[in-house]
Structures are given as C-alpha cells and as structure tokens.
Point group: C2
Chain length 252, copies 2
C-alpha cells in the first residue's frame, strides 16, 4: 500500500522480468537466482490458494504450504498487498496477452472476426481463472489502492478492441457512425482519442467503449453467478450479445 513498499516489490520483479542474460549485465549470483525462484514459488502457491479458497488470500496459509513460517514471506514481499499486486499485474498481463493474441491470430481484414475472437478470448481466460478475474474486475479490496503500474496493462483489452475499430476506419472497411457526440462529452472523448493515440471518431470510440463495458458485464454476470439459470447455452448467449455490440460499432 505504501509507495515505498510497492517500489521495493517492483524491484524484486526486475530481477526476473529483465532477464539477466541480456547484454552487458553480470550474471546474478546463486543467491539472487534462488531468491527469484522463491518469489516465483510463492506466487505460484498464492495463485493456487486464490483459485481454491477465493479472494481472501492468507499469507500464513501460503507460508504453511511452503513449509515456512509466515514471517519468512516478508523477506520477499513487504506486505500481503504487495503479493496481491504482483498477482494482479501478472493476471493483467495474462489477460492482455490472451486478448491480443486472439486478435492477432484472426484475419486482419475480418474486423468482426477479430472483435469476436478478442471478446471470446477474454471470456475464456476469465472462465479459466475466475479468482484472478475477480481480483482484477471485482469490487476493490477496501484498503487496497491499485498502483500506477497496473493502469497500462489494464487497458490492453479495451485498447485491442478500439484498435480493431481504428483499423476498420483506416482501411475504409468500417463506416463511422454519422452522429456527433454532444458537446461536453465530445471534448472528453476527443482527449481520450489523443491519449490513446488512435485516430477514431469520438462517436465510434464511445461505441467501442460500450463494447468493452458490455464484455466486462457479460463476463462478470456469468462468473459471479448472476446469469440467469434459465440460460444453459452460455456460449451462444455470449456470442450473440457480443455480436450485438459489434453491430453497434458498425462492424460488418
């Protein structure tokens, strides 16, 4: 939670996210390597606890599973929140990877196919990792404030969706909506367009964000058990609802 703690946690990561066999770096000591391995092991066990026991992760239980005493964990993560943040970061990246890979695997010219593939990939990832999805998109943990490192990976799925729309506009395959946004909103969305660096008409960006919101809502309802029990064909329902949003965005 403290900025310093988050920073130190991030430092623990650099030793593995920046692989040591890149140019000019000295090979890490044995101790550094077993430390990195230990961090990875802790995260693995923590992720397992998350998937089985739900969102309330117990540091002591993780330590017990590792044959350690709880205070030993603090040699690797300054607090429980930092461990959670590490898991959140990895989860964001995994989801982003899945969505972007699905988009990239589709035919570039098939805009609607890319849209559906990206959405399906997000849902598939969420169904495969419900606890981690809840960690990302559930109600925020009370005391917990997401560090700034999380905003960029968190935006990858919506950016992917908007990127599909941008490609459509750029190649002329997608006709932007002829409406214009009303003024106070138009400026906001125009700023967002610049911030994302995607040349898309504001009205279209708004529709893309509607698709992203719908995607999140569909997954959340299905995952949190709020989908009506009278809908056994969930795949078909999801596909149809996502298709509706593709229609709304003007995807052919």
């Amino acid at each position: 939670m403290r900025a310093s703690q988050v920073k130190s946690s991030a430092l623990s990561f650099d030793c593995c996210s920046h692989p040591w066999h890149s140019e000019g770096m000295v090979a890490p000591s044995l101790r550094a390597r077993v430390r990195a391995g230990m961090i990875e092991e802790i995260k693995t066990v923590a992720r397992r606890h998350l998937d089985t026991d739900g969102a309330n992760l117990s540091l002591r239980a993780v330590a017990r599973d590792l044959g350690m005493v709880s205070s030993a964990i603090y040699r690797y993560f300054p607090s429980r929140d930092d461990l959670l943040t590490a898991l959140i970061l990895e989860a964001y990246d995994a989801l982003g990877d899945a969505v972007e890979a699905a988009d990239a695997a589709a035919d570039r010219a098939d805009l609607r196919g890319r849209w559906l593939a990206a959405c399906r990939a997000a849902r598939a990832w969420a169904l495969a990792h419900p606890a981690e999805y809840a960690l990302l998109y559930g109600s925020p943990v009370p005391g917990y404030a997401a560090p700034d490192d999380t905003v960029a990976p968190a935006q990858r799925p919506p950016v992917t969706l908007v990127g599909i729309l941008r490609d459509g506009v750029a190649t002329g395959r997608l006709a932007p909506p002829d409406e214009e946004l009303p003024e106070p909103l138009r400026g906001d969305v125009a700023e967002l367009v610049e911030l994302l660096g995607m040349d898309v008409p504001p009205a279209l960006l708004a529709r893309g964000m509607a698709g992203w919101t719908q995607l999140f809502g569909l997954i959340s309802f299905e995952l949190f058990g709020r989908i009506n029990r009278a809908l056994p064909h969930r795949d078909e329902y999801f596909d149809h609802q996502i298709g509706l949003m593709a229609d709304l965005a003007g995807l052919p």
Copy 2:
C-alpha cells in the same frame, strides 16, 4: 451460510417486515419490540461501517459502536454472513424501489424517457451507496453463498427494464427487431420469457438484457475507479452510453 442460520435470521425479520398492527395479530411483547429495534440499530451501524470502511465489515467494531461486547451481536444475528445477508436484502430492495419508482414517475407513453430514468436511478443509487452496491454486484465473498431470498429482489431492476420494452410492444410503440435468435439460444430466451411472464419477442429480450448488462458495467466501471480519468463529464457519458442501448433496444 448454513441454511438453518439463514432461516433463523429471516425469522428475526418477519417480526418487523410483517407489522404487528395488521389484522388478527396479537401485539408483540415489549421485549419483542426492543429486540426488533436492536436488530434495526445493528443494521444501521453496520451500514454506516460499510459505507466508511468498505466491504470488510467487522462485527466487533459494530458491537463496540453499540457499546456492546461482540458476542452480544450473536443474540440477533447467528453469524456475520447473516448480518451481511440482511444488509444485502435491504440494499436490493432499496435499489429496486429506486428503479421502479423512477420508471413509474415517468410518462407511461415515453418509453425512452422511462428507460433513461430507470437507468439513471440505478446509477444515482449506486453512487449514493457505493459500498452497498459493491456488496450486491462486486465479486462474491468467498465463503458466502447468496440465499434464495435474494434472487427475486435482485431481478427487479432488469425486470423493470424489460417491462418497459414489453409495454412498448403491447402498445405498438416499439417495433421488435426483425431478426430471429439462432436456435439453441432462442429456446433458452423463450423459456426466460415465460419465466418472467413478459410477452416479448426473444430477440428483444436479449437486447433488453444487453441494456441491463451495460448498465451494470457502466456503474461498476465508474464506481470501481476503472472509468478513464480523462472523462470528467461522467453524467453525460453515462447518458450517452445508456442512450446507445436504448437505440439498440429500438426505443424511439
């Protein structure tokens, strides 16, 4: 969590939800009345703690605020989960009241106005009671399973939205989409139509549910801080996105 506990908690409610001054019932004893008052007081304090401290409600803290010892709370609620369930039930009802009242206050013939009013009421309630909204629609508490009493009140907002569409079809003001749902899905939604008792074409019901999903997603994104900071005019953004879904449903 146990069914028996939930039942006993529900019994505690009946003494106040079924007012004693109705026909034929004997006036409750003094003790029963102070007990009901105590239950209400506990819920009030718990709600206040929820709004200030977030979702992790501490029974001991509530007891302290009431000048009691923690074990005394168990005279009124068999467990912390039951207290949470009581708050959830009340929250569902409050949200349902707000949405239905907003719909009822609008001109019956102005379908789009009713839709927007209902959606705005849901958002307004959520913004006014963020912690309770998170309790309803956030990630489910790990050990907690929502009792069956909650499903009916939970469906009031979406039923209200679909009711607007049904009125539109019944009065001929709303032209249902000319598409048909693909087969495995069409049967599911048709069953849902019967279950809700609302005579609406399945394809239209699907669009209404899309609107409900979007509404939930919009509110959640805004409330859980995932709305982009580059969107200061949140009211206008919300109105526009909800209007998009009204378009999708065919509301004139």
